[in-house]
Amino acid sequence: MQEHGRTMKVTLSVWRQAGPQAQGRFETYEVDDVSPDMSFLELFDVLNERLVAKGEEPVAFDHDCREGICGSCSMMINGRPHGPELGTATCQLHMRKFEDGARITVEPWRAAAFPIVRDLVTDRSAFDRIVEAGGYITAPTGSAPDGNLILVPKAVADTAMDAAACIGCGACVAACPNGAANLFTAAKVMHLNLLPQGQPERWERVTNMVRTMEEYFGSCTNHGECEAACPKEISIDFIALMNRDYIKAQFKQRRLASQRG
C-alpha cells in the first residue's frame, strides 16, 4: 500500500508543436506536488491546469477511457512507447513507477505514417485503412446461423482472443525503427484467420491487408521492439503466422486465377 501524503517532483521535457506544419521543440516544465498514486495522464492534467493559469496553451494529448482499452493515449516516455512499465498503456502508468526528482522526456509517436496533429497528438487513420482493406468477416446483419452451430475449439478461441486484444494504439509502430505496422496488422489478420468463420476470406484478407499496410508503413525486419512495447503484450508470433498466410495466399490465389482461365 502507498503511504499517503508523500509527494514527488518531476521535470518534464515535452514536445510542443503548434500544428502539422509548424516547427516543433522541447519545452521544460517542473511539476511538484505530484502524488505517487497519480496516473501519468493526471500528471498532464495538473501540468495543463498550471499552464492555463499562467496563460500558456495546454499540452494537447490524446486520451479517453483512461482504462487502457480505447487505445487513444500515445506518449513516447523516455524513448519508450507508453513508458517503462511492461504491458501498460500510458493512462495506466502511475507516478509510483518513477523516482522523486526524475527527468522525463515525453514525445509523440514518431512515424512517417502518423503525422503530428499537435503536440503529442498524431493522426493514426492509416490503421483504419488497413482494417477497411479486409479486417472483417463478411457477415451481413441477419444472415447468421445459431451461434452454437459454429464450433470453435477453446484453444483456437483463446489464441484468436490473444490477437484480438489489440487496442490499435500504434505503440508497435512507434517502437519500430522502420515504422512498420506488422504487429498491428498481424493481430487483426490472425484474430480472423484463426477462426472457422474467417476461413472463406482468409487468403484475400491477408493479401489485401498486407498490401495496404505496405502502402503506408515501413517494412518489418524482425527487431521485435513492437512486442516489447505492446501494452497488450501481443506476441510477435502472430507476425510469423501472418507471413505464413501471406506466402500461402500468393500461391492459392494464383491457382484460383488459373482455374478461372
Binding site: 500544428g19 477511457c65 512499465e85 483504419d128
Partner: protein, 641 residues
C-alpha cells in the same frame, strides 16, 4: 393542470407478437430505392456502428460522424463483463420471457414493456450475428459458447470475451462498418463533432459539425438523423465514463425540441476503484462479473485499523449475503451500491481514505485455485494492481460505487424515433429499455439490438413516404442560422478570457451533482443544487479561460462546449429528480424509503416516463408524460431477499 400525454405508438396485440406484427406492418423501401435515401449517423459505439453498417448493408447512403480519431475508440470499448441473451444454452430455464421479466423488474418497473420484450427477443439474434462476425467469445472445451451469471438474474445468460466483451463487440461492429466504408456505402467523418441538430418544418433535416483538426464548421443534410452518442454520466465529473463522453449531441437536439426523458435515472455502479486523491480524473470500473466469485465485506467494528488479513472471520460482516440471502453478492447494482454507501457512511469503510468496502477472492481462490480465477478475471486483477499498487490475489480489492451509466436520454417511440420526426436515437443516448436501473450485461445488448435489428427494421416507415424528395439543401436558412449559432458560441468561448479553466468548472459542477443528486437525494439537497448550478453557469460564462484559437486542434475549446452543456443539463437532471417524489432504481429519494432502507416506489402517481420539453433558456421545461402499463409483469415491491 394536466400534462400533455405522449404516445409511444406501441403496436397492438399480445406482447410476444407485437414486434413480428409490427415489422410486417411498417412501410418498406424497396431495395433499389434505398440508395436514394441518405441517413446521418452520429456516434460509432455499439449502437452507432452497428446501425451504420446494417443500414449501409441494406443499401442506404450513410454518412457517419465521430469526434474520435477512429470509430473504434467509442466508449463501448470499455465494457468489460458481457452481453445477455436468452439462449438458454445452460439448461437453467432461461427464456425470452424470463429475460424480459428480469429486465422489467430490475428496472424497478419504470421501463416500457413492449420495448423490453423486443429487446429480449432480438438478444438471441445478436449473439448469432456477433459469432458470425468472428467475435472471440469464451468457449467450452467442446467448442460451444460459454456463459456466466450476472447481478439481478438467477440464470447464466451472459456471453463474454474475457474481461473485454465491449471491446470485442465494438470491434465486430467497427469491422462491419469498415467493410461498408471500403465498399463506398458509408462516408466516414472522423474528429467531427456534432454541435447542432437542424430542424426544418418540424422534421430533422441534418446536423452542423465542427472539424476538430481544422476548426471548419460545416452543414450536412439527410433524410434522417440518427444519434447514438452515448450517456451523460460525466455531468458528475468523476464517473467511469471516458473523458470525452458528453451530453452535447442530445442536449443540442433537446434545445431544438426533442424531449429529454427521465434524466434523473443515473446508475451508480457498485464495483469501482475508490478515488485516491484530489487529482483523480476518472473512476475505474471493475466488472460486476467479479461479484460472481468475490465476497463483499466490511469489518464489523467502525474505524477498524487492522489490515484485512488480521480481521478474523467472525469480525467481518458479509452484509450483502446477510441482508439478501437469495441473491447474496449478486443483487442488482442499485441495491449493492446503496448497501455499500450505508456501510461507509456508518464509518465501516476500508482503505486509507475509508471510502471503500472489500471484495474478497480469498474463498474463491482456495476453492477453485488461482489458475481458474486468473483465467476468469486475470486482466481485471492486473488492472487493479496497476492502479492501486496492491495485488488482489493476496489483499482483498477495495471497491466503492461510482456513476457509470445513465438510463435517461432522449425520448423515443417504439420505432426509436424521437418526437421530432426523422430524428432517431439509439443506445445509451435514448431512454428506452432499462427503466430506472439497468441490469449488468444489458447495455451491450441494447446498443446492438437498436443498431443491428430495430432501427434497420423501423426506419423505412418514416422514409418510404418521402421517396423522390431531396434532403434540405445546406444553403437553406435553417442551416446557415445553425452554423451561425455554432460560430457565435465558439467565438464567445475564446473572447471571455477569464481566470478559471474549463476543467475547474467541470469539477465544481461534479461536486454539486454528486453531493446533492448522487446516490441519495432529498428535496433539500436538490433545491440546493438547483440554486447553485445557475450561479456556477453564470460564473462560467463570465470567467472561463479558453486559450488558443478556433482554427486549430484545440482541446480546451472542445471541452468548453461540452461543459457548457453539462451546466445546463445538470439543472434539468436535478429538476427531474425533484419532481419524482418516489424512489425507484437508481433514483433514491431519502424521503421515500421503506423501514429497512429500500427504495419505495409510488406506482399510483409515478408509473410514467417524464419527458421534458425545452421552452427557452429562462423558462421552466415542460413536462410530458408517457403512462406505463404493466400487463405482463405485475407491479410489486422488488425483493432480492
Amino acid at each position: 393542470m394536466a400534462e400533455p400525454i405522449l404516445d409511444a405508438r406501441i403496436p397492438a396485440g399480445p406482447i410476444e407478437q407485437k414486434w413480428d406484427n409490427h415489422k410486417f406492418d411498417v412501410k418498406l423501401v424497396n431495395p433499389a430505392n434505398k440508395r436514394r435515401f441518405k441517413i446521418i449517423v452520429v456516434g460509432t459505439g455499439l449502437a452507432g456502428a452497428s446501425a451504420a453498417a446494417s443500414l449501409a448493408e441494406l443499401g442506404y447512403q450513410v454518412e457517419v460522424h465521430t469526434f474520435h480519431d477512429s470509430p473504434r475508440r467509442a466508449h463501448s470499448i470499455a465494457a468489460q463483463g458481457g452481453i445477455n441473451a436468452a439462449k438458454n444454452y445452460r439448461n437453467d430455464d432461461d427464456s425470452v420471457f424470463r429475460l424480459f421479466y428480469d429486465t422489467v423488474k430490475g428496472g424497478d418497473y419504470r421501463a416500457r414493456e413492449a420495448n423490453v420484450y423486443r429487446l429480449a427477443q432480438v438478444s438471441v439474434d445478436i449473439i448469432d450475428q456477433c459469432v458470425a462476425q468472428g467475435v472471440p467469445f469464451a468457449r467450452e472445451y467442446g467448442g460451444l459458447l460459454d456463459n456466466r451469471s450476472f447481478g439481478g438474474a438467477q440464470v447464466s445468460r451472459t456471453f463474454y470475451a474475457r474481461g473485454q466483451t465491449g471491446q470485442q463487440l465494438l470491434l465486430g461492429a467497427y469491422q462491419a462498418l469498415a467493410r461498408q466504408i471500403h465498399l463506398g456505402n458509408v462516408t466516414l467523418h472522423n474528429r467531427s463533432e456534432m454541435l447542432e441538430l437542424v430542424v426544418k418544418d418540424g422534421r430533422a433535416a441534418g446536423i452542423v459539425v465542427r472539424n476538430l483538426m481544422t476548426g471548419a464548421i460545416t452543414s450536412h443534410s439527410a433524410h434522417a438523423v440518427v444519434l447514438a452518442t452515448g450517456g451523460y454520466g460525466n455531468v458528475f465529473f468523476l464517473s467511469t465514463n471516458a473523458k470525452a463522453s458528453n451530453v452535447t449531441a442530445i442536449w443540442r437536439a433537446y434545445k431544438q425540441g426533442a424531449f429529454m426523458a427521465n434524466p434523473c435515472y443515473t446508475q451508480i455502479h457498485p464495483t469501482c476503484i475508490p478515488a485516491s486523491d484530489e487529482f483523480q480524473s476518472k473512476l475505474t470500473l471493475m466488472s460486476e462479473s467479479l461479484r460472481n466469485d468475490g465476497r463483499i465485506w466490511v469489518p464489523r467494528a467502525s474505524d477498524d485499523p487492522r489490515s484485512p488479513d488480521q480481521i478474523p472471520e467472525d469480525e467481518r460482516d458479509y452484509y450483502l449475503e446477510r441482508r439478501y440471502p437469495a441473491f447474496g453478492n449478486l443483487v442488482p447494482r442499485d441495491v449493492a451500491s446503496r448497501a455499500a454507501k450505508r456501510e461507509v457512511d456508518a464509518g465501516r469503510g476500508v482503505g486509507p481514505l475509508k471510502n471503500g468496502v472489500y471484495l474478497d477472492f480469498g474463498d474463491a481462490i482456495s476453492r477453485l485455485g488461482r489458475a481458474v480465477i486468473e483465467e476468469r478475471y486475470g486482466n481485471l486483477f492486473q488492472m487493479y494492481e496497476r492502479i492501486t499498487g496492491e495485488d488482489p490475489y493476496v489483499v482483498p480489492m477495495r471497491i466503492y460505487p461510482a456513476v457509470h451509466y445513465t438510463m435517461g436520454g432522449l425520448w423515443v417511440d417504439y420505432n426509436l424515433m424521437s418526437n421530432i420526426p426523422g430524428l432517431y436515437v439509439l443506445g445509451e443516448a435514448n431512454f428506452s429499455d432499462h427503466g430506472a436501473n439497468r441490469l449488468g450485461a444489458s447495455a451491450l445488448m441494447q446498443g446492438l439490438a437498436d443498431g443491428y435489428f430495430v432501427l434497420p427494421a423501423t426506419i423505412g416507415d418514416y422514409l418510404a413516404p418521402q421517396l423522390g424528395q431531396q434532403p434540405v439543401p445546406t444553403d437553406d436558412p435553417v442551416f446557415t442560422e445553425a452554423r451561425q449559432r455554432v460560430e457565435d458560441v465558439t467565438k464567445r468561448f475564446l473572447s471571455i478570457r477569464g481566470s478559471r479553466s474549463v476543467d475547474w468548472f467541470h469539477r465544481e459542477l461534479g461536486k454539486i451533482m454528486w453531493d446533492n443528486c448522487g446516490m441519495a437525494r432529498s428535496r433539500e439537497s436538490l433545491e440546493k443544487a438547483i440554486a447553485e448550478i445557475p450561479s456556477l453557469r453564470e460564473e462560467f460564462w463570465n470567467d472561463v479561460r479558453v486559450l488558443g484559437d478556433d482554427a486549430t486542434f484545440n482541446q480546451s475549446l472542445e471541452k468548453a462546449g461540452r461543459v457548457a452543456d453539462f451546466l445546463e443539463f445538470g439543472e434539468l437532471l436535478c429538476r427531474d429528480a425533484l419532481h419524482r417524489e418516489e424512489s425507484c432504481g437508481g433514483h433514491f429519494r431519502l424521503e421515500h424509503q421503506t423501514e429497512d432502507g429500500e427504495a419505495q416506489r409510488d406506482d399510483e402517481n409515478f408509473a410514467y416516463v417524464a419527458a421534458w420539453g425545452y421552452s427557452g433558456d429562462h423558462a421552466n421545461p415542460i413536462l410530458h408524460k408517457e403512462q406505463l402499463e404493466f400487463e405482463y409483469v405485475h407491479l410489486a415491491q422488488r425483493s432480492y431477499k
